[in-house]
């Protein structure tokens, strides 16, 4: 009986560790684009995985694990706002991002793009991150964000449109882009 229980526990532990290893990167990045803050993202990811551990038995389909974790993380993030309603301006959010003094061109461009992504309204950036980074379809995103698919598609359109415009206005970037 006890051996069986500890066996189940061991299996649960293995599942959990596999889940952490496979998905913590995606989840952290998703948290980062949601909060624009490294420390908060780390806390959110920790809280998410702790909750995931407690509810691990309810996860039947491993393929659904990522969206399951994202759902938990979004809920945790919403809770964070209920707890303390601190407001951050978009400009401040952008300035929190990493600035590396010695960077390659690629890093300079990434940094510049990150600022642009961070400056998008959250309702545009969230589906965009889910689509590009998460690889989710419009339907999946609509389900996860509890929106209808047309709304999601419109937001994706606006998100890319704004980013494209920003890029086209950026002389250095455009030079690189065309060259």
């Amino acid at each position: 009986m006890t051996a069986q229980v500890s066996n189940i526990m061991a299996t649960k532990q293995v599942r959990y560790e596999a889940l952490v290893k496979a998905l913590h990167t995606d989840l952290y990045r998703y948290a980062y684009w949601l909060t624009h803050d490294k420390q908060v993202s780390e806390d959110l990811v920790q809280e998410t995985f702790l909750r995931a551990w407690r509810a691990l038995d309810s996860l039947k389909d491993e393929k659904a694990a990522k969206s399951w974790l994202i759902t938990i993380l979004r809920r945790e993030n919403a809770r964070r706002f209920e707890r303390k309603r601190f407001e951050m301006s978009e400009y401040e959010e952008a300035s929190v991002m990493d600035t590396q003094s010695t960077s390659t061109e690629q890093e300079i461009e990434n940094h510049w793009l990150r600022e642009k992504i961070a400056q998008l309204p959250p309702e545009y950036s969230e589906p965009l991150v889910l689509q590009i980074l998460g690889g989710y379809s419009g339907e999946d995103i609509a389900t996860m964000l509890n929106l209808n698919k047309n709304t999601v598609m419109t937001r994706l359109f606006r998100a890319r449109n704004q980013l494209k415009e920003a890029l086209d206005e950026q002389p250095i970037s455009r030079g690189r882009y065309n060259g």
């Binding site: 959990y16 560790e17 990045r29 702790l50 690629q106 461009e109 990434n110 590009i132 598609m153 494209k164």
Partner: protein, 237 residues
């Protein structure tokens, strides 16, 4: 599909597999170029979105979970400890209850059982050992004394008579020993003045301070013993 629709669709999902979108792309190389351009944009955005993850985050996550469930286990074992303690207390109470409470509902049954239990310890051929003085020393516990000896007393000892400290006297009888118990009065046990089974019979006399119970085989006249006790015994208060 007009240009506006195309733009909306391709911007919303440059990788879209929508049939209309695929047909529009097929028909127009300029649209294909545009789709490619947007796909390149997506690649760059993807790279930009891949912010670096803190070192050792996965180890930290596993460690925190281990601590969390360890604490949970500790809480559980504390519960187990509390349960074990409760069981021990209840077991203690039960032993106490069984040992010091009456398992027989009346004096007679208990007296018979007690006599049968100890019948091998005494024999009618044992020599008398206990003097009247020693008997009365023991009787003083019950605030009583005997004026003179009622016969040859083989043994006089305190015993537990159904959980009560009592005096157990064994006299030499006609064919077998005669047992006399001096038992404190108690309410919760049914007083019965006479009782018997196939071999033994007994009678109890209720005094103010104690009950005196005589148990002997059926060759013995209980009336004689009762009279002897009545005449002999006196109570100090």
């Amino acid at each position: 599909m007009d240009d506006l629709q195309f733009r909306r669709k391709i911007y919303a999902d440059p990788n879209g597999k929508d049939e209309d979108l695929l047909a529009a792309l097929q028909a127009d190389p300029a649209k294909q170029d545009f789709a490619n351009e947007l796909n390149k944009l997506d690649d760059r955005l993807r790279e930009a979105m891949k912010v670096s993850v803190p070192d050792g985050l996965s180890e930290k996550l596993i460690l925190r979970q281990t601590f969390a469930s360890h604490q949970q286990k500790k809480r559980k074992s504390r519960v187990h400890l509390a349960l074990a303690a409760s069981v021990a207390i209840i077991a203690g109470l039960a032993v106490n209850y069984l040992q010091f409470s009456s398992s027989y509902s009346n004096l007679g049954d208990y007296a018979l059982a007690h006599v049968y239990h100890e019948q091998d310890l005494f024999s009618n051929s044992d020599n008398a050992q206990v003097s009247l003085t020693r008997l009365n020393q023991k009787m003083s516990t019950f605030d009583g004394s005997f004026k003179q000896s009622m016969g040859e007393l083989i043994s006089a000892d305190y015993c537990r008579f159904d959980g009560m400290k009592s005096l157990h006297l064994v006299y030499k009888g006609i064919t077998d020993t005669v047992t006399v118990f001096v038992v404190p009065n108690r309410d919760d046990i049914d007083f019965r003045d006479s009782f018997n089974d196939s071999k033994l019979h007994g009678e109890a006399i209720g005094f103010k301070h104690a009950n005196v119970i005589v148990v002997a085989d059926k060759n013995e006249s209980l009336t004689k013993w009762q009279r002897a006790i009545n005449n002999n015994i006196s109570w100090s208060t």
